[in-house]
């Protein structure tokens, strides 16, 4: 989900644009503290970076705990700038479609968050978060009783198998690929070209459904993250009887508390209650409001204006993945009545100045640049004090294993850059190596970043040649292995709260390929070995290995200079209750809302 590249990342880009304007911490804003509060930030970060726990059957039993003061009835209006790229769960990877999927679809497992921000994986359609055996190579899930889709058909293990197998079909190309790859390897489509539609299925040695209620996954190596993987919206259940293949993308059948009443691509989406959803089987979701009206095409600027004005129907409105628009932040934070209607928190993204290690081969040059970059001015360009926090390392505050004080380059003490240290490292470095080509997107933010990078690096004697790149295809251009750039600013975030979804995709040597996210082209035997080791370990042991990998990367390899952590800052109407920041979605928790007066 979490690079800024590609169509799938477009919604994320929107979220990031908003996140760059964020305030501090992860909480509902009570309107009393609108300033920068580093201590509170770190407290909130420690909550967001807590390890996820796996719940048993008791923790997976519905209904979800009642929200104090919650009322039933009414319709929430949801504003979003761009239309949804997909509604088919199999094609869902980005945060906008993911938010909608939380209302519409159920998966085998789901993330549950309590009021203190603790996150656990619970059974959603399954009775619990799964039973691991064979050291994590085998996982067994048992379906709950009484689960039906919106058409009233019972959900069985055959539907789960169908959901997995249809991911092998060619019309599914935009969703996550973790599960398929784990089950059948990188060339997984060849294992089941028909996607299960032709009557052929995955062998029982890979995916078994011994009865209507039981699903067994078999892997060739331990997959201890599986419960978290299956909680992704991309693995939500598609009932076999309802599947219309490619057409399903515009008319999917719901299993969650809401179903689609009408959908106009890129224009509007109306959700109403799904009467076949049984709250007793769902420990996460609520069905307080009668429905949701999604209004696409409303810019963040207009969303913010409407929500600040808080008139008429806008009292019942929320932002889906957009945030408070930059120029209106002061209007929001200076008005306590408006400010108390915001939610804010860290996003999972770490922005870094990534080095193309095929071109910037000298470790001292990379380290010197890492010392020299000015996080402070870069954050200022992203929205001033609300743009984010200085990042001293590669792990975001949302990631288990986050170390707020791990700061090998002294970034927290000298966020404006350590010029002396950089100059010291550059002694003896030939002038030719001090000429660096910096690629930046031709957007407003890109221009600001260009100025900040040029300014910081020229102070230590670098000759920065800045190259403008079309912002729409920026990641495509820097994703080419033979790209002509030495460095570029990139962002990455976790798919679920585990370093495996950060370290593996962006630093694994296998990911050095055209279009792949290892933009630094890191090919390091020790890194690869640590990744392999961590992926085969139990979570508590893996955490140490991931930490070792991060430290080694940042201190010995230096594929990028960590710059800043992004944040999210969203506004909702005064009649919307239950607003809170969702640690997993890094957005307003859409499953936790009600209207105070319907």
């Amino acid at each position: 989900m979490k690079s800024f590249s590609s169509r799938r990342a477009q919604a994320i880009v929107v979220a990031i644009a908003a996140g760059s304007l964020a305030l501090t911490g992860c909480s509902e804003n009570k309107g009393t503290n609108t300033g920068d509060n580093a201590k509170k930030d770190q407290q909130q970060a420690s909550v967001q970076s807590k390890a996820v726990t796996y719940a048993d059957a008791a923790g997976s039993t519905g209904p979800a705990p009642e929200i104090a003061g919650a009322q039933s009835g009414g319709t929430i209006t949801v504003y979003q700038e761009a239309g949804l790229s997909h509604l088919d769960p199999g094609q869902t990877y980005v945060s906008d479609a993911g938010q909608v999927a939380n209302l519409l679809f159920r998966r085998l497992t789901q993330f549950q968050e309590d009021d203190k921000g603790n996150v656990s994986v619970v059974g959603d359609l399954a009775t619990d978060s799964g039973k691991m055996s064979d050291g994590g190579k085998t996982w067994t899930f048992t379906l709950k009783d009484g689960i039906k889709d919106a058409k009233g058909n019972a959900i069985t293990s055959a539907d789960v198998r169908h959901t997995v197998e249809r991911q092998y079909a060619k019309f599914i190309f935009d969703g996550p690929t973790y599960l398929q790859t784990w089950l059948s390897g990188a060339q997984y489509r060849k294992a089941l070209p028909g996607g299960g539609f032709d009557g052929k299925h995955l062998p029982k040695s890979v995916l078994d459904t011994p009865d209507d209620k039981t699903v067994v996954f078999h892997f060739d190596q331990p997959r201890t993250d599986l419960p978290q993987t299956l909680a992704m919206a991309g693995y939500a259940i598609v009932p076999a009887k309802d599947d219309t293949k490619a057409k399903y993308d515009t008319a999917p059948v719901a299993t969650g508390p809401y179903k689609i009443a009408s959908y106009k691509l890129g224009k509007s989406l109306v959700l109403t209650k799904n009467s076949n959803w049984d709250p007793k089987t769902d420990s996460v979701r609520h069905q307080y409001v009668d429905g949701f009206n999604f209004d696409f095409g409303v810019t963040e600027s207009t969303q913010t204006k409407r929500l600040i004005a808080d008139r008429g129907n806008d009292k019942n409105a929320i932002q889906l993945t957009g945030g408070v628009e930059a120029t209106q932040i002061q209007d929001v934070i200076k008005n306590p009545a408006v400010s108390k209607r915001t939610v804010k928190g860290y996003q999972p993204y770490v922005m870094q100045l990534t080095f193309n290690m095929d071109r910037v081969k000298d470790l001292k040059v990379r380290q010197a640049i890492t010392y020299a970059v000015n996080s402070k001015s870069l954050i200022a360009g992203e929205g001033g004090v609300y743009g984010g926090d200085v990042a001293p390392n590669y792990f975001a505050p949302t990631l288990p294993g986050y170390e707020p004080k791990y700061d090998p380059y002294g970034r927290l003490k000298t966020p404006q850059g350590n010029i002396a240290k950089a100059q010291e490292l550059l002694k003896g470095v030939p002038a030719a190596e001090k000429k660096v080509v910096f690629a930046y997107p031709n957007s407003e933010n890109g221009q600001k970043r260009k100025v900040a990078i040029e300014d910081a690096l020229s102070k230590v004697g670098f000759n920065v040649v800045s190259k403008e790149v079309d912002s729409a295809s920026f990641y495509e251009q820097i994703g080419k292995l033979n790209n002509p750039y030495d460095m570029y600013i990139t962002g990455w975030g976790q798919d679920w709260p585990s370093p495996s979804t950060v370290v593996t995709p962006i630093y694994d040597g296998d990911q050095v390929a055209d279009g792949a996210p290892n933009y630094a082209h890191v090919k390091d035997a020790k890194v690869d070995a640590l990744i392999k080791k961590a992926l085969n370990q139990k979570p508590e042991d893996a955490a140490k290995t991931w930490k070792e990998a991060e430290h080694y990367l940042l201190e010995k390899v230096v594929p990028g200079a960590p710059l800043w952590y992004t944040k999210q800052f969203q506004l909702s109407g005064s009649n919307v209750g239950g607003t809170r920041y969702g640690s997993v979605s890094s957005l307003l928790d859409i499953n936790h809302l009600y209207l105070k007066k319907s």
Partner: protein, 325 residues
């Protein structure tokens, strides 16, 4: 007349084909392709190939072009079903049929265009004509001054001010939105009133100035002077002779303006968060969505060509000296 229309129709079809070809090949020649943009995080050569295959981008360029153009007349088959003629392809981004999307968005743009045209033709041309008729009067000065001020405004400036006053600040109006007239006529009228008036106000100013200068020019023509010398009243000459002559430059510009607006009132739609053809064009370009971009381009070009023909016919109707040949 029939021969003229037939000839121009054939010419229009050839022009549309050339526009389609130019758009297609310029798009294909661009430095990035949609499959790479869509490939994303888990991008691999295999995944890239899957996307290309799913979208038909693995086919030869010439075949892709032929499939697109022939689909307009004969329809096409896609994995999601048949796309009846006129088929403008299937959006890479949304998977929806482009023609269906255009038809869904067109009523919004049509409302803006038609509503705006009524306002700026009645108010703008009317004020310009009266200004010319009463040249030098206070009314003339007021109309000229107002049009000068309004024409220096832009929709992206005037729109937010109007929204702030009538929607966010006072709450006198609801957020602008399009509601089908068949579903709720009052909702349709009130929802589109502000955007239509704001867009029309800019055009009104331009038409006022144009109508005024055109009419003043006409009133100075020899045939008008001769008519007056023959004893015809000023009012009679104004409505019988000068008015029609003054309309020719207005009709010319009107044809261009209407066709441009039907092709998408981008700024108005973005300013008022409306989902019309203009926004579709912008989204298509941003998402590198070739079928959508091609579809919207051809749709807009169609109106430009149609209004060109209608403008020529209008010339002949307004001024009998003009012959369609």
């Amino acid at each position: 007349m029939l021969q003229f229309i037939l000839r121009r129709t054939v010419g229009a079809l050839v022009t549309l084909f050339l526009i389609g070809a130019a758009t297609f090949f310029l798009f294909v020649a661009a430095p990035s392709d949609y499959a790479s943009l869509a490939c994303g995080k888990d991008c691999s050569p295999q995944r890239l190939e899957d996307i290309r295959q799913a979208l038909g981008l693995n086919l030869p360029i010439a075949q892709q072009f032929w499939d697109f153009m022939s689909g307009i007349f004969m329809g096409r088959d896609f994995p999601t079903g048949h796309c009846s003629a006129p088929c403008l392809g299937q959006s890479f981004y949304s998977g929806d049929m482009v023609w269906n999307t255009i038809m869904d968005r067109f009523p919004t743009t049509l409302t803006l265009t038609a509503g705006g045209a009524v306002v700026f033709l009645v108010v703008g041309v009317g004020a310009g004509m009266i200004s010319a008729y009463k040249r030098g009067s206070m009314l003339d000065k007021f109309a000229t001054g107002t049009s000068m001020v309004l024409s220096s405004f832009q929709i992206y400036f005037l729109g937010p001010i109007v929204l702030w006053i009538f929607v966010y600040s006072t709450g006198w109006m609801d957020n602008p939105q399009y509601t089908p007239i068949t579903q709720d006529p009052w909702g349709w009228f009130t929802g589109m009133l502000l955007p239509t008036l704001v867009m029309a106000s800019i055009f009104t100013a331009q038409y006022t100035r144009m109508a005024r200068s055109s009419m003043i020019e006409q009133l100075a023509e020899e045939h008008v002077r001769t008519a007056r010398a023959k004893g015809m009243s000023r009012k009679y000459v104004f409505y019988r002779y000068a008015w029609r002559g003054a309309l020719i430059p207005i009709v010319t510009v009107l044809g261009i303006d209407l066709s441009s607006m039907l092709g998408g009132a981008v700024v108005t739609e973005l300013t008022f968060s409306l989902q019309g053809i203009g926004r579709l064009a912008v989204d298509g370009a941003i998402h590198k969505d070739l079928p959508m971009t091609m579809g919207v381009m051809l749709f807009g070009a169609f109106f430009i060509l149609i209004f060109n023909i209608l403008t020529d016919i209008a010339y002949a109707w307004i001024d009998p000296r003009v012959r369609l040949s």
